[in-house]
């Protein structure tokens, strides 16, 4: 059951000129959020911007194990993310959640691969913690434009996550897209039980889904569509899901997703 919290900003950390991590006091949300779920956020006081915007829950903040809040990893691209970038400690931000279907966690004997492009890293911090709590070995395939847009590397390392990195300019990790090291990993993994998760720009999700399919595997993708309500009310956030007859129908990614089997969607 989603709740709406006027969440106080505990901390706002700028990671780069465009990225920030904002910590929000929202114990009710922190207590029940599962990896892959999201919140609908509204930092504005007046009517501009009007609508909430969806953001993955990045971290769960705890005070001696008691969940006290969440963080959001935000990339500045428009009015809401600008307000999130500029928010000051003590401001309040309206935060509705948790929403959406979480990732399905793998069997204990599988390993897990998280595949992130850019701000698509966001759902994987909570997932990494859940995986670690189950003792599941995990790898983060993480691609970005440049080395200085690869964030939280030590955070993941501290939690035992193996890192495979790539940058478009070659300034860290492999040169190019993350699909290159990923393809090699699929090749090497052979028959191993691997649960794959991906989040990032849609072309990347399409590429990863197709790549996985080529190896007879599936990926849980977290899609990011423009969302009006996040609750199933508006039908704005649809993705084309395959139908048995070879066509597609539109399903609402806010309530049926944002996590889908990559193989179930039509990628164009």
């Amino acid at each position: 059951m989603p709740v709406d919290v006027e969440a106080r900003v505990i901390r706002n950390t700028r990671l780069s000129p465009d990225y920030n991590v904002i910590a929000l006091a929202a114990p009710e949300i922190a207590a029940v959020t599962r990896p892959g779920q999201f919140v609908m956020v509204r930092p504005a006081r007046g009517l501009d911007p009007l609508l909430r915007r969806p953001f993955s829950v990045f971290e769960i903040l705890r005070d001696e194990d008691r969940p006290i809040g969440i963080t959001i990893l935000s990339k500045r691209i428009g009015p809401t993310t600008r307000l999130l970038f500029e928010a000051a400690e003590g401001d309040t931000i309206s935060c509705l959640g948790p929403l959406g279907q979480p990732f399905a966690l793998p069997e204990p004997d599988a390993e897990a691969w998280m595949i992130a492009g850019g701000v698509g890293l966001a759902p994987f911090a909570t997932l990494a913690e859940s995986l670690a709590a189950r003792g599941i070995r995990s790898t983060l395939f993480y691609g970005a434009r440049r080395a200085d847009e690869l964030f939280y590397l030590s955070w993941f390392e501290q939690r035992g996550v193996r890192l495979v990195l790539s940058t478009e300019d070659g300034s860290a990790g492999a040169h190019g897209r993350i699909t290159v090291p990923l393809a090699a990993a699929f090749q090497a993994a052979d028959g191993a039980r691997v649960a794959c998760y991906a989040c990032g720009p849609e072309p990347m999700l399409a590429a990863v889904s197709q790549l996985a399919a080529g190896f007879g595997r599936d990926v849980q993708v977290s899609v990011e569509r423009v969302m009006g309500c996040g609750m199933g009310g508006c039908y704005s956030c649809v993705v084309p899901m395959k139908t048995p007859d070879g066509g597609h129908h539109y399903v609402r990614s806010c309530i049926s997703g944002p996590v889908f089997a990559g193989s179930s969607l039509v990628w164009d």
Partner: protein, 313 residues
């Protein structure tokens, strides 16, 4: 709420009694059931469910919405499960939850409206029919009725003949004289009219020089349109005596009060529900407090109470 006599929030729309005058607007609240986990649906005055055709509809490809100043455009294209699946899959839960369900219906032809009305009249728990003759986003449905006085008259009287449910045509604001459409609807036997649907509008991505919506044009809703919607409700109030359900940009009890005072007996809330799905209790509380503060016994006494006498008469 203090110790004063409780104010009366109930309103009557034809034979339909609503516990309070706040109705979820069609297309903005799914089929209602989506909100059942978050809200007690029986506490809403009513729920106008997503516009239904006879059969399932795919809707338009994304992008389907875009935010604009104090508003949003939508071109969903009336994606929907069709009336039969609605009755089978959604109505049982709506009944169970005690929702006052207003079914918003759309047809491509007059016969389809009649057929929909016939089918829904026999369904337990359907409280009223809202005739969507005003969706700006699809070519084949509704709007050809909504933009013609004859069309409006014909579809309302045809539906009127086949149902005892309250019939509420929903008017488009994209006309020169909305009051004449309210009159045509009333003459054809409508129990009430609802207005406004969205304003035909568009937004352009100047970097790609392409429309922001896949459908090129869409419907503008939200606070931006409120002053126009209030004016249209006011004009209709002068033209007809049947109840008016007002809407367009309501985001607070104060906004709703503008509509009541202009002449609406009930209001619908669409876009603001996206921003705050818990708005319903706030609307009820705000209205109650207002009535108490002004010692007005109930909503009915407020309806159409605008005082337009010059200030220094």
């Amino acid at each position: 709420m203090g110790l004063t006599t409780p104010v009366d929030l109930s309103v009557r729309i034809g034979s339909l009694q609503l516990a309070n005058p706040f109705i979820a607007a069609s297309g903005c609240f799914g089929y209602g059931v989506e909100y059942a986990e978050a809200l007690d649906l029986s506490r809403l005055g009513g729920i106008a469910v997503k516009g239904l055709f006879l059969s399932e509809r795919q809707g338009h490809p994304p992008e389907r919405i875009v935010e604009t100043p104090a508003g949003m455009l939508n071109a969903i294209g009336l994606q929907g499960i069709g009336v039969h699946r609605f009755i089978a899959e959604k109505m049982p839960e709506l009944r169970r939850l005690g929702a006052t369900t207003i079914v918003n219906i759309c047809g491509s032809t007059l016969d389809e409206y009649v057929e929909l009305a016939r089918i829904l009249s026999d369904v337990e728990g359907v409280a009223a029919l809202e005739l969507n003759i005003s969706c700006p986003n699809i070519k084949e449905g509704g709007i050809q009725f909504g933009c013609s006085l004859h069309g409006t008259h014909d579809v309302v009287s045809a539906v009127r003949k086949v149902t005892r449910l309250p019939v509420i045509p929903k008017l488009t604001p994209n006309v020169t004289d909305v009051a004449s459409f309210a009159r045509a609807a009333a003459e054809a036997g409508a129990d009430a009219v609802s207005l406004v649907n969205t304003f035909l509008a568009m937004a352009i991505d100047v970097e790609t020089r392409r429309p922001r919506l896949s459908n090129v044009v869409g419907g503008l809703s939200g606070p931006a349109i409120r002053p126009i919607a209030v004016r249209m409700v006011y004009e209709c109030r002068q033209a007809v005596t049947i109840p008016i359900i007002g809407m367009g940009g309501i985001a607070s009890a104060e906004d709703a009060l503008e509509f009541f005072i202009a002449g609406a007996t009930a209001v619908q809330v669409g876009t603001a529900n996206f921003v705050d799905p818990f708005i319903w209790q706030k609307l009820v509380d705000g209205l109650e407090q207002y009535l108490e503060r002004h010692a007005i016994p109930g909503v009915a006494a407020l309806v159409g109470s605008l005082d337009t006498t010059p200030e220094h008469a």
